[in-house]
């Protein structure tokens, strides 16, 4: 879109010491924050597609207003009732279970951390489950996901078993990365989770590469049905990083099947998004590069799901990337080491009232999609899954010394030729981890 004149005409007050997004920034910022009582599930008010002239989007309903587009999508999935529901009962329960799994898992992580079972930096996802569940339950197994260090729930939602994730956190050999990755590096070839990156922004080019692979397969290798989509998750802090912009450019340039999902939880450790960013409306950066930029309420799983559906279908069709900004919030600190003293308790309370799980529960009850009983039984099931995961991880072995050098090279000839003329990896002591490298 063209420059927003308000950026210059009305300089926004520099938000020094602003601890919440309560202060109005400019008239444009009304899109950024909520006015009045937050409208919840299924409400069209925060759905905004930005059609970009002169690019023609192939989807006809992008030309319509946001409100009608939601209705249109909703119509497609409508349950036979006049209530215009967005999900079926099965879908509702699936979403609920996924969010409960994420929430309970993270709570269990905190417990285990304080009991000394896991170490290092652990970043928990409490409060952001709507984003993960909203997107992941629409993906196929072949679709690829790239995340950041806040990746436990992304891995779980993609299908990595809780056992594998938990034992990875415990540093056991049965972890999804054999204990070599840890909390911030969750990988799964089977489920196409390619990270887990500790440096912010570092995974975005990798995600772009995965999307490039998909396009390559379709156009060069001519593989039928090669329409895998890649999702790149990252936060608001990352949106000031060069890699983000470089990849927005390349993805739009080559129309890569990728969706850039910004989990804007307003805080990068202790740095408020508003203090770090000249224009805090991240969705606007999409159109600047020639792709749609969408802002969605990230505490509302159904809204996220609707946006996700559109974006994923767009990518699958070959129409290119989308930038989705999910406004969300983390209920805990940045990591388990963060005392979380900087954020305003009032802000935290406001978002706690918008807990995505409670919201979905309310929706399910109000629309008679599930009973108290059914939800309780889901919670019980997840409790059991987690107890099993912890037990499994406790009993799993620690990695042995021989594992140290095994995965340094895919081809161990890379360790070179030793003084005796043989490749070092041929030395039997090498595999036992006692050889000299």
């Amino acid at each position: 879109m063209s420059f927003s004149a308000t950026n210059f005409a009305q300089p926004r007050p520099v938000p020094v010491g602003v601890r919440s997004n309560e202060k109005p920034l400019s008239s444009d910022a009304s899109r950024f924050r909520f006015r009045g009582p937050p409208s919840f599930l299924g409400s069209p008010h925060s759905l905004r597609f930005k059609p970009i002239p002169p690019f023609k989007l192939a989807i006809p309903h992008s030309q319509r207003s946001a409100a009608s587009s939601v209705t249109h999508i909703a119509n497609g999935k409508m349950v036979k009732s006049s209530a215009n529901l967005l999900i079926t009962k099965e879908e509702g329960l699936e979403l609920y279970e996924d969010m409960i799994l994420g929430r309970f898992f993270e709570d269990m992580c905190a417990q285990m951390y304080y009991r000394g079972k896991m170490f290092g930096f652990v970043h928990l996802y409490n409060g952001q489950e709507a984003v993960s569940t909203g997107f992941f339950k629409l993906l196929k197994k072949e679709d690829t996901v790239v995340s950041t260090y806040r990746d436990h729930v992304h891995a779980l939602s993609k299908g990595v078993p809780a056992r594998a994730v938990m034992s990875e956190l415990f540093g056991k050999a049965t972890g999804c990365c054999r204990g070599q990755g840890g909390s911030m590096h969750m990988f799964s070839k089977e489920h196409n989770v390619i990270g887990g990156f500790a440096f912010i922004g570092e995974g975005i080019p990798v995600a772009t590469g995965a999307a490039f692979s998909s396009k390559y397969r379709r156009e060069v290798l001519k593989e039928a049905g090669a329409d895998q989509v890649t999702l790149a998750f990252f936060g608001d802090g990352t949106c000031n990083n060069g890699q983000f912009y470089e990849c927005l450019n390349m993805a739009a340039l080559w129309k890569l099947p990728i969706i850039f999902v910004v989990e804007n939880n307003l805080w990068a450790i202790g740095m408020s998004h508003l203090r770090a960013t000249s224009d805090p409306e991240i969705w606007k950066k999409g159109p600047a590069f020639g792709m749609p930029g969408v802002h969605v309420d990230g505490m509302d799983v159904l809204k996220v799901r609707e946006v996700a559906k559109e974006a994923i279908e767009r990518a699958r069709r070959g129409d290119g990337p989308t930038l989705v900004e999910c406004e969300t919030y983390r209920f805990r600190g940045h990591s388990l080491a963060d005392p979380d003293e900087l954020r305003d308790p009032a802000e935290k309370a406001r978002y706690a009232a918008r807990d995505p799980i409670s919201a979905l529960k309310k929706y399910l009850f109000e629309n008679k999609l599930a009973s108290e009983q059914e939800l309780k039984s889901i919670e019980k099931k997840i409790d059991e899954v987690l107890d099993d995961a912890v037990e499994y991880s406790d009993e799993s072995p620690l990695p042995p010394r021989s594992q140290l050098l095994e995965n340094v090279f895919a081809d161990p000839k890379g360790f070179g030729i030793g003084p005796d003329g043989k490749y070092r990896c041929e030395d039997p002591k090498f595999t036992q981890g006692t050889a000299h490298v």
Binding site: I194, F197, I204, P205, S213, E246, F409, G414, P419
Partner: protein, 405 residues
């Protein structure tokens, strides 16, 4: 920008390699399975290159840049005489062959496609293979290197070209954090078969930022391999080996060597990434070198031979890991080591090599290892100053004389 350097007159005498025949024996021995039609050349021990013996018996590969011991076995086993080409053409040939062989091999970099590469290594490939296989990227090294890594993790085999190796400093984050690490961090689930290549080294008054030697910066990264090519023969062989390798490989080319002309075999061959190359066998001193300094060394060798010395020259080729077998054998023979490199003195390849040799072969040394490296200065523009930054043949001669006292 795309200056094609004339082969400098400094080593024109050693440059006319066409008059000296290459001798190599077809040796299909290597650890990995090779198709019988491919030559895999492993370097040597024996002096008779025709000794086509049983498994694991190494073969000598000699480039007689300076022929002191005339090779009697000129009746080469390769039936065809080969064809002549320049080093950048050899790289292109290797690249093209691999792209034909495996459709997952692709190239990405700045100006590799329509422009044909700033040093013409990818010329004509975009027309042949298409814009997606030879991808012109925007100027975003960090991101397109990361993109190459992501593509490699999801099944492709990209070759990432840095227009100048120095530009890859911008991609250092991706190369060190992702390229080298992710195979390990993912517990072995994802392999990253990328080749990162580009021209580096001190050229002809290109200024400091275009004259970087990045070998020293990358060498500590666990999980990557580094090789440096120096002749058309090993350029093609190493390019092919790097592409076929499952590990991430950084292939260092040199700006001043692109126009070297030589004759290479017609039949397909792949070299070993981990092996060093015996350039000139000798008895008195072992000179270890790589890339462009090989030619300075060979020029110095001519002077040394006239003075009665018999240096053994080894092009280490594999900068990480070092081929300790070839190096060790040589040290055990000569007991004196001189390292000649273009890298900076501090923390360079020579420093690591000195440490490795001292650790492994200290008892075989009669004298401390001497390491001649470039000065620790940003490469100046002025020609005279630039000349004094890198090691010149006269210094090599002096060093050998001192070492052999």
């Amino acid at each position: 920008m795309a200056a094609l350097f004339q082969a400098p007159t400094a080593f024109s005498s050693s440059n006319s390699l066409d008059s000296n025949k290459f001798n190599h024996s077809p040796s299909p021995r290597s650890l990995s399975e090779r198709k019988s039609s491919i030559l895999t050349v492993r370097s040597d021990a024996r002096s008779n290159p025709l000794l086509n013996s049983a498994a694991h018996k190494p073969h000598r590969f000699i480039t007689n840049a300076v022929a002191t011991k005339p090779d009697t076995s000129l009746a080469s086993t390769s039936s065809k005489p080969g064809h002549e080409l320049l080093l950048f053409e050899a790289l292109r040939e290797g690249l093209e062959e691999e792209m034909e062989r495996d459709p997952r091999v692709c190239v990405m970099g700045e100006d590799v496609g329509h422009y044909g590469g700033s040093y013409k290594v990818t010329k004509g490939l975009a027309t042949k293979f298409g814009d997606l296989r030879v991808l012109d990227t925007p100027i975003a090294e960090n991101s397109f290197t990361g993109m190459g890594i992501g593509a490699a993790m999801t099944g492709l085999r990209p070759i990432i070209e840095g227009m100048n190796m120095g530009f890859l400093l911008l991609a250092f984050n991706q190369i060190s954090n992702n390229c080298g690490m992710l195979h390990y961090t993912s517990g072995g689930q994802f392999k990253i078969p990328v080749v990162i290549r580009g021209p580096g080294g001190v050229g002809r008054q290109l200024g400091a930022e275009h004259s970087q030697r990045l070998e020293s910066y990358f060498q500590s990264i666990p999980g990557i391999q580094m090789v440096a090519c120096s002749t058309p023969y090993n350029a093609k062989g190493l390019m092919k080996a790097a592409i076929r390798s499952e590990n991430p490989v950084i292939l260092f080319e040199h700006v001043l060597l692109y126009n070297l002309k030589d004759r290479i075999p017609d039949e397909e061959y792949v070299l070993s990434l981990e092996e060093a190359e015996m350039v000139r066998p000798g008895e008195h001193v072992t000179i270890l070198t790589y890339s462009r300094m090989r030619y300075h060394v060979m020029q110095a060798a001519k002077t040394l031979v006239n003075k009665g010395y018999d240096p053994e020259v080894i092009d280490i080729r594999s900068l990480k890991p070092f081929d300790l077998h070839t190096i060790g054998k040589s040290v055990k023979k000569t007991h004196r080591v001189l390292i000649v490199e273009e890298c900076m003195r501090t923390g360079g390849i020579g420093a690591s090599l000195t440490a490795a040799i001292t650790e492994n072969f200290n008892d075989d040394l009669d004298a401390p290892i001497v390491c001649l490296s470039s000065q620790d200065v940003p490469t100046p523009y002025a020609g005279t100053l630039e000349e004094w930054t890198v090691v010149q043949p006269a210094q090599i001669v002096t060093a050998v004389e001192q070492l052999c006292q």
